[in-house]
């Protein structure tokens, strides 16, 4: 499978200009001699990430976006080149607003929305304010693609190790992570502390579950906050196959052999071990009492 991750740098709030710019990227990718099988774009790719109340003016339905993207791909040289596309966007579903990511199959004449994941962990602290404006997703699903089973996790979804764990248990062999991460922390060695944290996290999750991770980071400054692209592909043994710099737009590409997943899991069967032990962990009554410990006490009858 030929994978391309587009580290995109949108113009804030200008969907049409960003679609036009994406069309140029599509033209570039469609012109390569070997066709792409999967193209991945970041979170909030066509709008920028920090929108506050402007988000309601910039949401699209999944269907409307899928149609625009399929038409754009075919118009820009992809008519004879079926491709799968994953992209983060702000979704309007009948007045319910989500930070979503879509996996889209684009054929020569048709297209199909394979899966829409709605971000479940909406960061709402410090510089982040997502849950003030958006609803959270309620379900984490893995889905079949022509290359094997995958899952989508958006940015903070990936910071909770339970999420890639559940995705892997549900059969995902690759986890696609559209992200928009404002960089911070100058104390690292040559890279921002926030980028370093991401790399450590992706590395550890890929190894633990024996999955590929396709991480697409948004680029560009938004009101002083620099988005740290740093897109990368991590293989099921935790090796970073390719990574992009934090700054600027670019494309990274990789040839993905999903047979590596089976080999990595044979070598380090942590996922199998987890499947064996998980029922004991989940059926532990004490676990539930801890997760409900923060609930307020009930008033006496």
């Amino acid at each position: 499978m030929k994978l391309g991750i587009v580290q995109f740098k949108p113009r804030k709030g200008d969907v049409e200009a960003n679609l036009a710019a994406l069309g140029e990227v599509f033209a570039q990718l469609a012109a390569e001699s070997a066709p792409y099988d999967l193209i991945v774009l970041p979170e909030a790719a066509l709008t920028g990430y920090f929108l506050e109340g402007g988000v309601y003016e910039l949401t699209l339905s999944a269907e409307a976006l899928a149609l625009r993207l399929a038409d754009l791909w075919r118009a820009k040289g992809g008519a004879k080149r079926p491709v799968d596309l994953a992209i983060g966007f702000f979704e309007n579903d009948s007045g319910n607003y989500y930070n979503s990511a879509m996996y889209l199959r684009i054929g020569e004449r048709d297209h199909e929305i394979v899966h829409v994941h709605r971000k479940m962990f909406l960061p709402t602290y410090g510089v982040f304010d997502e849950e003030r404006f958006l609803s959270r997703g309620r379900r984490l699903g893995a889905f079949e693609t022509r290359f094997g089973r995958m899952a989508l996790l958006i940015c903070e979804d990936m910071w909770h190790t339970l999420m890639p764990t559940i995705a892997a248990i549900k059969g995902a062999r690759a986890i696609i992570v559209p992200s928009a991460s404002p960089g911070r922390g100058l104390g690292g060695d040559g890279e921002l502390e926030s980028v370093k944290f991401w790399h450590e996290l992706l590395h550890a999750q890929a190894i633990e579950h024996g999955v590929f991770i396709f991480y697409a980071g948004l680029a560009g400054f938004e009101g002083g906050k620099g988005m740290t692209g740093s897109s990368c592909v991590v293989d099921p043994r935790g090796r970073t196959l390719v990574s992009a710099p934090a700054l600027g737009a670019c494309v990274i590409r990789a040839e993905i052999d999903f047979g590596e997943v089976d080999l990595a899991r044979a070598n380090l069967p942590l996922l199998g071990d987890l499947n064996a032990v998980l029922p004991d962990l989940l059926l532990d009554e004490d676990l539930l009492s801890h997760t409900t410990a923060t609930l307020p006490p009930q008033s006496p009858e």
């Binding site: 804030k12 920090f50 402007g54 921002l192 400054f221 009101g223």
Partner: protein, 286 residues
């Protein structure tokens, strides 16, 4: 193991915020910030920087030169009659090092034109008038030059409220506002800012023989360390446990707590459910 063997003991690093920064990374990041905000977002290729002769404006000019090229950087010296000669000559060192555009505009006639009606104005009022007059010039020159004025305020002075409201903090872009003063010094050394500028005692130079550390009553090294701990969420007892006196902690906390208003836009009476920045929320780059 026999009794004579002594095992090596390895101490943990303290779990506390560090003020150390990767200067190369900081310079690259701030250069990209200026390029993106000026050229990509606004289509503006020129920057105006008021050069005081101090380290903050010198670092700002160096960063602008990296981002835009020195031919697109317009430094302006804005002396008042009481400004020290050293301020002007140190500013010249920056101009010489960068090869950027340079101009000196005396603010004395403008400032004194008003002050002749207010002969009793104290040093604080006079300083505020000078700072606001300087901004008036920088904004006007920016229009003339097709440029944007670039702010030079650092995180320490922003937190301590050690600036004139709607003057030093007025420019629309501020590259240094999230760096403590000691971090600005480190960045200055990395960028090659002339040594005499980095090593001299910082001064607003609004009064004769004025120094920042004299005004603030604490050294920048101590203030920055205390501020970093404070912003990390540490209470006074935990800060004191790291070797700071209650007087030093008190000076910093008093200045921060008394100046939250200076880090905000004016307070507007809210009367509707569409009040700007309360209900009607759009980011600055929308």
């Amino acid at each position: 193991m026999n009794g004579a063997t002594t095992l090596p003991v390895i101490d943990a690093l303290p779990s506390a915020p560090s003020l150390a920064i990767d200067c190369e990374l900081a310079a690259t990041w701030l250069q990209a910030f200026l390029e993106d905000e000026l050229i990509a977002r606004r289509g503006i290729r020129n920057a105006v920087v008021g050069l005081s002769g101090g380290v903050d404006s010198a670092v700002t000019a160096f960063l602008c030169a990296r981002a835009l090229g020195p031919e697109h950087v317009f430094t302006i010296r804005l002396p008042y009659k009481t400004s020290s000669a050293e301020s002007l000559s140190d500013a010249q060192l920056v101009v010489d090092a960068l090869g950027c555009n340079d101009r000196t505009i005396e603010i004395t006639p403008s400032v004194d034109g008003y002050l002749q009606h207010e002969p009793d104005a104290d040093a604080r009022r006079r300083g505020n008038i000078m700072a606001r007059t300087r901004m008036l010039v920088l904004f006007d020159q920016s229009v003339k030059l097709g440029a944007l004025p670039i702010g030079t305020g650092n995180k320490t002075e922003r937190l301590m409220g050690y600036f004139t409201w709607h003057a030093d903090d007025a420019p629309p872009l501020n590259p240094l506002g999230d760096l403590f003063k000691t971090q600005v010094w480190a960045l200055a050394r990395f960028l090659g800012v002339p040594k005499s500028i980095v090593d001299k005692a910082p001064s607003a130079d609004l009064e004769t023989n004025q120094t920042d550390e004299g005004d603030l009553g604490i050294s920048y090294a101590k203030a920055d360390a205390i501020l970093a701990l404070m912003l990390f969420g540490y209470d006074d007892a935990r800060i004191a446990a790291r070797g700071f006196s209650s007087q030093e902690i008190g000076i910093v906390r008093w200045r921060v707590d008394g100046t939250h208003w200076k880090r905000h836009l004016p307070t507007t009476a809210m009367l509707s459910s569409t009040a700007i920045n309360e209900f009607y929320l759009r980011p600055v780059d929308y």
